[in-house]
Every structure is written in C-alpha cells, then in structure tokens.
C-alpha cells in the first residue's frame, strides 16, 4: 500500500493530470508504505511483463506519461504549481522513487529500511518481449534480478545472454549493466543476438513461457486462479492445442493500439481474455477468446466477426448431450416454478468437464494464502507451504465448489487470504489517513513484528496447527507494536480472511470423466449441492476464539461476510457467507452455501415451495427421478412364431420396452430393414433377412430428453424341408430332369431360384400346381472343366423364395455320365 498520487482538492478530475504524492520525510514514508512502485517491480513483476506503470509514471493521456528513467530529469505533472516547476529529486519521497527494502538489496540484513529507486542506476521494467517469445527464457534468473532491483539487467539475464554484474546497490550501473556471454556475437564492433537466440524467437509464445505465470510453476498460479493445472493430455484434452489455441484472438478480431480501456479491440500481444467473475481489469476485452461453443458447436464461426477461426476439428457433442437429457427443458432460470431451461442453459461446460481426477502431486490448489508473515523466499505472504495447499482430488471426490455468474453455474476453487487488520475506529493503524474499523495492517509492519519475534507466518511456524493461543500471542504482539509505533494505546488487531471464488476452467478431462452421465452424479445427497468443501489446507487446523476474528466486509453495510462480493446468487445479488468471522475455526462449507442464500424461498419444477436453502437443496438432491425423465429399457425381444426358439427368416418378433416416465414416446428401429416402429410394445414384426442385426430402442421423455438402449439379434434361414426326389440324367445328354418334393404350400412360395453349378442360373416361377412338388428341366453345359473321371458333376443350388425372400435353400449334386 502506498499513496501514489496527491489528493485532488475540490473534486478536480484526474483528466487534468496526476501529481505523485510526496511524503513528508523518510520516516513518514516508512510509517505509511509497504509496497511502492519499485516494490511492485521487485515482487509482483515476477509474473508481470513490465511496461505500463513499471516503465512510466501513469497519466490520463498515455502520450503524456513521463518515463521512470526520467523521473529525476523531466517535470512530472504538478497539480499545485501549474505550470510545472521542475522534476522530482531524491529529496522527494514518493511511491515512485523509494521502496521498503524487503528483499534486502544492500545485504545489510535490514528488511524494513527505505531505499531510493534511482532508475538511472536500476533501469526500469520495459515490456519484456523475450519473456513470452523466447523459447528457453530463464524465468527464475529474471525473478532473481527483479528482487535485487536490477531492472534493466533482468531482460538480458532472463534471455540467457548475460550474467549480472558485481556492482553494489547505489552505484552507477548497478541494474543497468551486465556481463554478456557467448549467446551474443560481435558484428563490426557491436553486439547482436547469436543464432541460437534468433532461432528460438517464436511469433506464437510457447506454452512453456505462459507456464511461468499461469500453471504449475512455483505456486504462482494459485495467486491467479487458486489452483494448479498441468499441461498433460491425460488431464487436459486440449493440451495439444497449446495455450494460444484458445487464447489467440479469433480471425477478424480488431487489434487495438489506442490504449483506451473502453476499447474492445484486443492488443496484439495480449492473449484473448475469458471472463473472471471478480476481475474488473480492462473488462472491455472480456470474452474475446474462443469458447467451448465456438469450436464444438459453431465450427469456429463467429457471426459478429463474420469469420471462421480454426476449430481444430472439435467434435459436436449435441447428440450425446441430448441423449443424456442435458438439452431437455428440465430446469429453471429462476427458482420460481417456471421450467424454462435445460441443464446446458444454466451450467458452464467446465462444471461437468473439469474433473481434476488424479492424485498426482501437482494436482493441488491453494486453500489458504497466509498473509500473517513472510514465506521462505521473503515474499510477504505464503501461498505454497506444505500446510496451506490442498489436493484437488482425493481419489474419489473432486475438491471443487460452484458459484453463479450471469445466470450460469461455474466451477470454482476458493482461495482464502488470512490477514491482520485493526478494528479500532478511532485509530489509523496503517497511516492511510482514513479512520475506520477496517484497516488492513501494512505488510511491512507485520514483517517488522514477525522479525522481532523470530516469526514467519503463523501457519508455517506452527506446522499447520494454530490455536487461539498462537493467534492471541500475535494479536498482542501486533497491538503492542502498533501502540508503540503510533504512540497510542488502543490498537485492536483481529484476524480476517478474504475468500475469493476463483473460476476453474482448465484441466478439461476426457468426456468419460464428466458429470451428467447419470442424474445422481449431481442430484444425490452429498454430491453437487451439499458436498463438504474444505476451506483450509490439507495440513491445516486453524482454530481461534470468535473474539479474535472479524469479517472481511459487510454487504450493504450491515450483513457480515468473509467472501468477495463477487459471490452472487443467480440474480446477481451478493451472497453473505461467513467462514471465519462468527466462528472458532475457518470452517468447511457445503457447496450449496455458495449457490443459494440461506433464507431465500424457492419454488421447484414440481410447483412446490421450499422455504429455506436446506429444504431447496434436499429437493434438488432427489429431483432427478421426479420430473418425468426418459428411461430406455428393452424389457424383452420374443419370437412370436416359435416362442423360445432362435429367430428364423420369416419369424415374427415382439418387442417390449420397460416403462418410462408418463408421456414418453417409444421408437424402435430394426437394422434388417429401413423404417421406424412406435410404441412401448411392438408385435408381429417379420424378420425377412438372415444376419445379425441391431434392435435400437429410443425413448423421448415428456420434457424432450432422450435415452437409448440397443440389443443384438441373429436371424438364420429356416431348415429346408424341400428335398430332391429324383434326378434323371442320361449318358452323353445335356438334358437333366430334377424332381423336387416337400416344397412349401403354394401360398408360401412363388418362385425357385436355381444356380446350376455350370455357370448358369435362372428363376423359375411356381408351377401352378399346389402339390408341394415341382420339376426342373435343364440342359447343362457339358464342358471338360466339370468332368470328373467319366462323369460331368455339378453342384446345384435351389432357393425357394416368396416375395423375394429366401425361404429355404438346398444344395445337391447332379451327375451326367460322359
């Protein structure tokens, strides 16, 4: 915290310019500042690229910004003395040219002293192109340079083309000069990048570079998203696309250069944005990235842009969703009894498809950020010790909760930042000039007291188990420290938490892991609506007296809550939720607490009222089978012609489905012939062809949901009754008479199809005599190829057919003496 710009009296707007606030003295600065601009460059910039306020003194008009390099050389806007009277100097203690030395740049062991940021000696943080575009960039080396306040050097060292110098802090060249290595080459007496650097510069940032700050790297992602994710195809089916597969601007997107935060045009070097519920940074750029629907439902088409972007061949899941009932109108856009939405209408895709189903060590989230003291690296809060993190999957249950945004439920991981604040309304504990009861303590004050007592952060110091004794000791110590610092007697420090529901939308699991294959995946006790969700780290047990804690804020000035106000119900009203204040532990919650206010009333799809959240959740837990959903069950497939016997061609088949919800419609398709049959029961379907076929039952429920089941049947030809009574063949004569008997009745066959076995065939009509017999006379081809010794031998086949369907088939040999 620092006062960066002077207050503007009389309501004069910033459009006129902004004047850096000058503290009265070094002592005044150290009393009231914990994080100034150079401090941000040292700390926050480990995940921020530079440029903006790390390169310039901000100004309403970007063209009017004064470079930090020129802070002592160029007049910065001076509101009180227009025209400007001159540049700032080391005598001016502002948030731009001084910082608290929490990283001990001068190695004297004093972490609470003030240091000057003379940018002529330190350099500045320009927007480092290499951080994103150079494959093999050294993130850790850059970070070390930042903590040392060697800002110009950070780019050369991070790019791997140089090592830091040995100059002491405060000396010319400290942060602006380096020792170059062999990754740069001489060209006519001047340096240029070597071939390795040139070859590794990539127009599209490699995903590994995004990973520096955005996943699975030193816990930094917990700050941004509350959980880690892994660039592994086993745990994110989109890994092969790379980060920019989704986050590159769509084809046709406008590229902005104005810097206007109201512009929806995306920057050329800004990945296209999603829509974080708690973020308000450049919101005009929200929702510019590819969504699930863009690729999976629209083939990359954007109607607004009138262009197709690459959809990577994404499969369209509509049929599958329909089959699972997820597109059926079963839900409500408001809990008012009006059934007017499908599950897909009120759920973001990630709710069902991000499962994080692995117990591998990387699969963690940050349950708690312990801001009661520094971490092992000297940062003033601990995001990543072994006690504050938690596994996102325990082998059975995925540790996610759910919240609303714009009428849809999203998957979330809650990150709790525990910190100290002062509740005394007459005491300005952090020196910000405001008297209120919500002062967050300066992190440097907390650091100073911790260092004096030999403490770091409270969770780490106590191996995860913190009681009211340890909390009370720190409160007493901080009260004494603040009373001494400010010369008061009424410091009143409390512990508070800020719970932020981070949106979880990476690690899209293979579809087989998704929720929604069964209603009970969610609509069952202990599942989606009332599963226990842990707010503490797996290794934590934080307890305290209720008098030792205070809420984060009060909604509407009256209703205490420990959650960020972005936790809202479906109508957009903030939900109050106390998890630390009013308790004696940072308590677990039920997932439904983040979705539904406790005292609101609801009306179900069944038309019944539910007076409380508890009653509403109990209803939702059982709703799966109560609203008329389709059920597809093939109860029986029977042979109506010969009950209990295998199917033969010509047999009739009866089909029966199990009962679905009232109002369901039943459809049957039998693969042996085109067409669809309807009815829960179908009788007398005649099987006309031999083979193995699918019988598919489709049931559409009264709300339009669809379920299917299939079975397999095998149909064989009937055993032949027809026999050869006699064959009359004479030596040397081609003419043969074949007498067939035991043929079907006249009504049951209409022709014979005969393959003679000599390369010829013919169809012979029923002879018109209903005597179960028919004679075939044929002149066979007397070729040597059929000669077997002294006889011509032919394998002859007769098919008895009726209406084109083969009823019987017999084979026999015809022998003609030579």
């Amino acid at each position: 915290m620092a006062h960066i710009f002077a207050d503007v009296p009389g309501g004069v707007k910033f459009e006129l310019g902004m004047e850096p606030f000058a503290y009265a003295s070094e002592a005044d600065f150290i009393d009231r500042v914990d994080l100034s601009v150079p401090g941000m460059m040292q700390d926050c910039a480990e995940c921020h690229i530079g440029g903006g306020g790390m390169e310039y003194v901000p100004a309403p008009n970007l063209a009017d910004r004064v470079p930090l390099r020129d802070f002592y050389a160029t007049a910065v806007f001076d509101h009180l003395t227009t025209p400007q009277t001159g540049a700032y100097s080391a005598a001016d203690y502002t948030a731009f040219n001084y910082f608290i030395d929490t990283y001990d740049v001068d190695n004297d062991g004093d972490l609470n002293e003030v240091q000057e940021a003379d940018f002529a000696k330190l350099g500045v943080l320009e927007m480092d192109c290499m951080l994103c575009h150079l494959k093999g960039y050294e993130y850790v080396d850059r970070r070390d340079m930042l903590r040392a306040a060697k800002f110009d050097a950070s780019r050369a060292v991070g790019a791997g083309v140089a090592e830091q110098n040995n100059v002491s802090f405060g000396t010319a060249g400290y942060g602006t000069s380096v020792y170059y290595n062999d990754q740069v080459v001489d060209n006519g007496g001047f340096l240029e990048f070597g071939s390795s650097i040139l070859a590794n510069l990539k127009a599209t940032p490699p995903s590994d570079n995004c990973a520096f700050c955005h996943f699975n790297h030193g816990g930094v992602d917990w700050k941004k998203r509350g959980d880690n994710w892994k660039n592994d195809p086993n745990y994110d089916v989109h890994t092969v696309l790379g980060c920019m597969g989704c986050h590159e601007g769509k084809i046709g997107s406008e590229i902005g250069t104005s810097g206007d935060p109201n512009s929806s045009a995306i920057g050329q070097c800004d990945p296209a944005k999603g829509n974080a519920p708690y973020s308000s940074l450049w919101n005009a750029n929200d929702n510019t990235m590819k969504t699930c629907a863009d690729c999976h439902l629209k083939a990359g088409w954007d109607a607004g842009l009138g262009e197709y972007s690459n959809d990577f061949g994404a499969p369209d899941p509509t049929a599958r969703h329909q089959a699972l009932g997820l597109t059926a109108q079963l839900c409500q856009t408001a809990a008012d009894g009006n059934v007017n939405a499908s599950h897909l209408d009120i759920l973001e895709c990630t709710v069902c498809h991000v499962r994080k189903a692995t117990t591998e060590a990387w699969n963690t989230g940050g349950a708690v950020v312990d801001a009661t003291g520094p971490d092992a690296e000297g940062r003033l809060a601990d995001h990543e010790n072994e006690y504050v993190s938690r596994m996102m999957f325990d082998g059975t249950v995925t540790n996610l909760s759910y919240a609303w945004q714009n009428g849809k439920i999203y998957a979330t991981n809650v990150l709790n930042t525990i910190f100290w604040r002062d509740k005394e309304p007459t005491f300005d504990a952090n020196g910000d000039g405001q008297l209120d009861a919500m002062d967050a303590l300066l992190m440097t004050d907390v650091l100073a007291d911790d260092l004096a007592k030999g403490w770091t952060n409270i969770v780490k110091d106590n191996s995860g188990t913190v009681t009211n004794i340890e909390v009370g000791a720190r409160i007493a110590s901080l009260n004494a420290y603040l009373n001494t610092k400010w010369g008061v007697t009424n410091a009143n420090v409390k512990l508070a938490t800020l719970a932020v529901p981070f949106k979880v939308n990476h690690n899209v699991s293979p579809a087989s892991y998704a929720l929604g294959h069964d209603c009970a995946d969610c609509h069952a006790p202990g599942e989606f609506f009332d599963r226990t969700y842990a707010m503490q780290g797996d290794g934590m047990n934080l307890t305290f007296d209720s008098t030792q804690v205070t809420p984060f804020t009060k909604l509407g000035g009256t209703t205490p809550t420990d959650f960020h106000p972005s936790l809202k119900d479906r109508a957009g009203t903030s939900i109050p939720l106390q998890v630390l204040s009013g308790n004696t532990t940072l308590r677990d919650i039920e997932t439904g607490e983040m979705l539904y206010p406790p005292s609101a009333s609801y009306t179900g799809a069944d038309g019944n009222p539910y007076a409380t959240r508890a009653a509403w959740v109990a209803y939702l837990n059982t709703v799966g089978g109560a609203v008329g959903q389709a059920v597809a069950t093939i109860a029986s497939i029977d042979n109506a012609t010969n009950p209990g016997s295998p199917f033969e061609v010509g047999d009739a088949m009866d089909l029966t489905a199990g009962a679905s919800a009232a109002g369901s419609t039943y459809y049957w398709t039998v693969q042996d012939a085109p067409g669809t049959l309807t009815g829960q029961t179908v009788t007398g379907y005649v099987l006309n062809n031999p083979g193995t076929f699918q019988v598919l039952l489709t049931v559409v429920g009264p709300k339009g949901d669809l379920k299917q089941q299939w079975a397999k049947i095998t149909v064989v030809n009937k055993a032949a009754a027809t026999t050869v009574d006699s064959i009359v063949a004479n030596s040397g004569s081609a003419t043969v008479t074949i007498n067939l008997i035991n043929l079907p009745a006249a009504a049951d066959y209409d022709e014979l199809y005969v393959r003679y076995g000599d390369g010829t065939w013919e169809t012979i009509a029923y002879d018109g005599t209903d005597d179960n017999a028919q004679t075939v006379v044929r002149d066979y081809r007397l070729r040597d190829t059929y000669l077997n010794g002294t006889n011509y031998v032919y394998t002859t086949t007769v098919q008895v057919k009726n209406g084109g369907v083969v009823i019987e088939t017999i084979k026999f040999k015809v022998t003609i003496p030579q």
């Binding site: 207050d7 910033f14 901000p58 390099r69 000069s177 902005g256 800004d270």
Partner: protein, 124 residues
C-alpha cells in the same frame, strides 16, 4: 545389351534421387534459416548500439527491448506491417495492469489506493 540399359537407368535413377535429396536438404536448411528471426543488433536504453566489450569480459549496458525490438517494430517506413513497441505496450492489459484505467478521486471512498484503478496500479 539389355542389362547395360537397365544399369544405366538404375544409375540415372540413383543420381536423380540423390540430387532431389540434396536439393531438399539445401533448401530445407535455407528454409530453417529463413524461419529464424532476422539479425538483431543490441541497443541500449538511449537507442545506441552496444559496443562489443573491449577487453572482453567487461560490463556493457543491458540491452533495451524498447529500442532493440523497437528498431524494427516501430520503423513504419521499412516495416509498415509491424506494430510499434509503443502501440503494443499502450494496448496491453498485461503491461498496463490498470495504469490506463485510473479513475477520478472518489470522495465517497477516499482511500489513496481504493478507487484509483481496477488493476495493480492504484489498487494498493
């Protein structure tokens, strides 16, 4: 005689394949070279070329990306298709972090850090 013709055809075929492979190799390597970035002279924060340290192993100014990359990414005459460093930096939420969203003083909530920006700059 026929064997000789076959051998000639065989050698001719081998020669053609070798020529093709060689061409692929040569043009493939050239292609790789073309795929890499053009040479980049290092410039300091003032835009001056950084001299090769003499003697070797002495310190030299750390290069500036604004001037080094900006030499081409900003040269609208030679590279009119490239956006400049300033154009990219101005219109980048990753760079600005709210520094271009500073709002007027909020008398209803006059904390010095409270209402000045939705990003890091001015939010603390």
């Amino acid at each position: 005689m026929e064997d000789i013709l076959i051998m000639k055809r065989y050698h001719k075929s081998i020669f053609s394949v070798t020529l093709l492979l060689t061409a692929c190799l040569i043009f493939g390597l050239i292609g790789t070279g073309f795929a890499a970035h053009v040479p980049i002279p290092l410039l300091d924060a003032d835009g001056n070329p950084i001299a090769t340290p003499d003697p070797a192993g002495t310190v030299a100014p750390a290069f500036s990306v604004k001037t080094t990359c900006g030499a081409c990414h900003g040269d609208k005459v030679t590279y009119p298709q490239l956006l400049s460093y300033d154009e990219i930096e101005n219109h980048s939420y990753h760079a600005q972090l709210g520094a271009n969203q500073l709002a007027e003083w909020n008398s209803a909530n006059p904390k010095p850090w409270g209402q000045q920006s939705p990003g890091h700059f001015g939010k603390w």
